[in-house]
């Protein structure tokens, strides 16, 4: 018996070593491209195009970042991205929350049927709508405007679904009691419901912000003038023009990735929760 236990301990030590070796290897593979990006962004021009490729800058410089802002107008792209992502986040948060709450707690004709229809529509890839949407926005004069990027993102089925799942746990008695006290529906929504939905609102806000910050295909289609580009669209176009300027492109990549990465690091608890909540029902 004691021999068996001793054998078990030896085996489990080897096992622990293997588990950690695997985790460390995967972590290195996950982080290496991002760390390399950060390192190269501080190298002087031409510093990365050598063999063997240097891992760390021989001397640290901020020239690449300076060039991006002074010559390339990166500040403008950054502002465009921030504006578009913030607008989509704030407006869609309000619209999705109102709808999600109504689907969970208010009674109206056809509620279940409409909700089922929305869930069924989730299988349609958004790209199917893009071609006619472009023609529509052209008619409305919204092509090449921020509004053109924002408008299709003002409501999302996923967002409505997320809020509805969460709002169902609000006790009906609470809402009824407020009604008996004479509170109007808006007052109930803003004073009672919204505070209770706070965790799911944070989750949805992060999801929406990151999604619109990282979005590429639709802004690429609808923004035709370079000065209106969001960061991903600008970066894709710059990387074609400046293919030789590795260091400057990496500085551009840092500026694009860093805001969402920091946001995630600060609020990851909410993000992971939302991810799990959203995948429960596909």
């Amino acid at each position: 018996m004691s021999a068996a236990i001793r054998g078990g301990v030896g085996e489990s030590r080897g096992h622990a070593l293997l588990v950690h070796a695997g985790l460390i290897a995967l972590t290195l593979l996950s982080l290496a491209p991002l760390l390399w990006m950060l390192s190269v962004s501080f190298m002087p021009a031409g510093g990365a195009s050598r063999f063997p490729p240097p891992l760390l800058p021989s001397s640290i410089t901020l020239d690449n970042y300076r060039a991006l802002f002074d010559r390339i107008g990166m500040g403008g792209y950054f502002a465009n991205s921030a504006l578009v992502a913030s607008a989509i986040t704030l407006l869609s948060l309000l619209i999705n929350t109102m709808a999600g709450y109504a689907f969970a707690k208010l009674r109206f004709a056809g509620r279940e049927r409409i909700f089922k229809l929305l869930l069924a529509a989730l299988v349609i890839p958004s790209q199917v709508a893009m071609l006619p949407l472009f023609l529509m926005l052209k008619q409305m004069g919204l092509v090449n405007s921020y509004a053109g990027v924002v408008v299709p993102g003002l409501a999302s089925i996923f967002g409505i679904f997320l809020v509805r799942q969460y709002a169902r746990s609000i006790p009906d008695e609470l809402i009824e009691a407020a009604r008996i006290d004479g509170a109007g529906e808006w007052r109930i929504f803003f004073r009672i419901v919204l505070p209770m939905l706070k965790p799911v609102l944070v989750t949805l806000a992060i999801f929406t912000f990151m999604g619109s910050w990282n979005d590429f295909m639709w802004p690429l289609i609808v923004l035709t003038d370079q000065t209106n580009y969001t960061l991903p669209v600008a970066l894709a176009s710059l990387s074609r023009e400046h293919i030789q300027d590795v260091e400057m492109m990496m500085a551009g990549a840092v500026l694009t990735v860093l805001p969402v990465l920091l946001l995630f690091l600060m609020l990851q608890r909410y993000y992971i929760q939302g991810l799990l909540l959203g995948s429960v029902k596909g």
Binding site: S12, H15, V19, G22, L23, L26, T27, S30, V40, F51, P53, M98, A99, Y101, F103, R107, F108, R111, I114, A121, V123, I124, P125, S126, Q127, V128, A129, M130, P132, L133, M136, V151, L154, A155, I160, E185, W213, N214, F216, M217, L220, I221, L231, L235, A236, S239, M250, G252, A253, T256, V257, V260, L263, F264, L265, Q268, I272, L275, S279, G282
Partner: protein
């Protein structure tokens, strides 16, 4: 105000946005795919003609469409199993009772998911550069001759697959992790008392118990991988020798470069039908095997 009216005020904005900017365009795309909408129609709507299934028939006779379909299937068939295997492996490591610093590892492994795809594709282009790239340099140490990753038609798609797997395995890892934590511990205890090895426990307890999660992850990942676009757009522009032209890339070129919006809509619908058919088949298979 009547209460049901109030409810409509609450759902109204969302339904209007979804109806006008999603429902209507999807319906219009179906109609558009039955017309010859092109540059001339864009200038003057009177040039628009109804062509029935003409676009679809024409597409089935276009070699590049078939090529893009083949490329996309290659990406899905190799990429999805690889991505799921890495996700599951990472989740098993994180869930091992002996694992320490779990929060740190989980965050690090998840970080690629939240990065911007376009930025990562730009990084990838330099990492896989044939002469200065870190990857060829590292492979050189184990005696592998430099590979022209993005310039060789044989290697361009595998490079894109590696990027996609790197970028998205963390997402499924988190879902698997939740699934693993939901498996009752006494099952493993009973197996251990019976003397079952770790490998046997994995095949006979873990994998069957993960069935429903595996199904969800499989369907989401397949549907997502069929929508390949930004990677070839940024890294290869569909080259070399059109080996990385995906269906969506083909649609984008047809629609927004050549302004054949009728044909492009037909491409979009065919892609939609393919995704629908394949995910439906997966669900049926899963139901038959009792996974769902």
């Amino acid at each position: 105000m009547k209460r049901s009216l109030v409810a409509w005020v609450f759902v109204g904005p969302a339904l209007i946005v979804l109806g006008v900017f999603f429902g209507l365009p999807v319906f219009a795309a179906l109609l558009l795919s039955l017309t010859d909408f092109d540059l001339y129609a864009l200038a003057d709507w009177r040039n628009l003609r109804f062509v029935g299934f003409g676009n679809y028939i024409e597409l089935l006779q276009t070699p590049l469409f078939w090529k893009s379909l083949g490329n996309t299937f290659y990406f899905v068939i190799v990429g999805v199993p690889l991505s799921i295997a890495v996700s599951l492996g990472a989740a098993l490591l994180l869930n091992a009772p002996v694992a320490r610093f779990r929060a740190f590892f989980r965050t690090a492994l998840f970080a690629p998911v939240v990065t911007t795809l376009v930025a990562v594709a730009v990084i990838w282009r330099y990492l896989f550069h044939s002469s200065y790239g870190l990857v060829n340099w590292a492979l050189g140490h184990v005696g592998i001759a430099p590979i022209d990753w993005l310039g060789d038609p044989q290697w361009a798609m595998p490079t894109i697959i590696l990027l996609a797997v790197w970028k998205n395995f963390g997402y499924n890892m988190v879902i698997f992790l939740a699934g693993l934590q939901a498996i009752p511990q006494d099952l493993y205890e009973a197996a251990r008392i019976d003397g079952a090895s770790r490998r046997r426990q994995f095949w006979h307890i873990t994998l069957p118990m993960l069935g429903p999660v595996l199904m969800v992850v499989g369907v989401i990942t397949v549907a997502g991988y069929f929508q390949l676009f930004a990677e070839p757009y940024v890294m290869t522009r569909g080259d070399p020798l059109q080996s990385t032209v995906s269906v969506l890339y083909f649609m984008f070129e047809e629609g927004f470069r050549w302004w054949n919006l009728g044909r492009a809509s037909a491409v979009a619908f065919l892609l939609f039908l393919i995704i629908l058919a394949i995910t439906a088949a997966m669900m049926r298979f899963g139901r038959k095997k009792g996974m769902v």
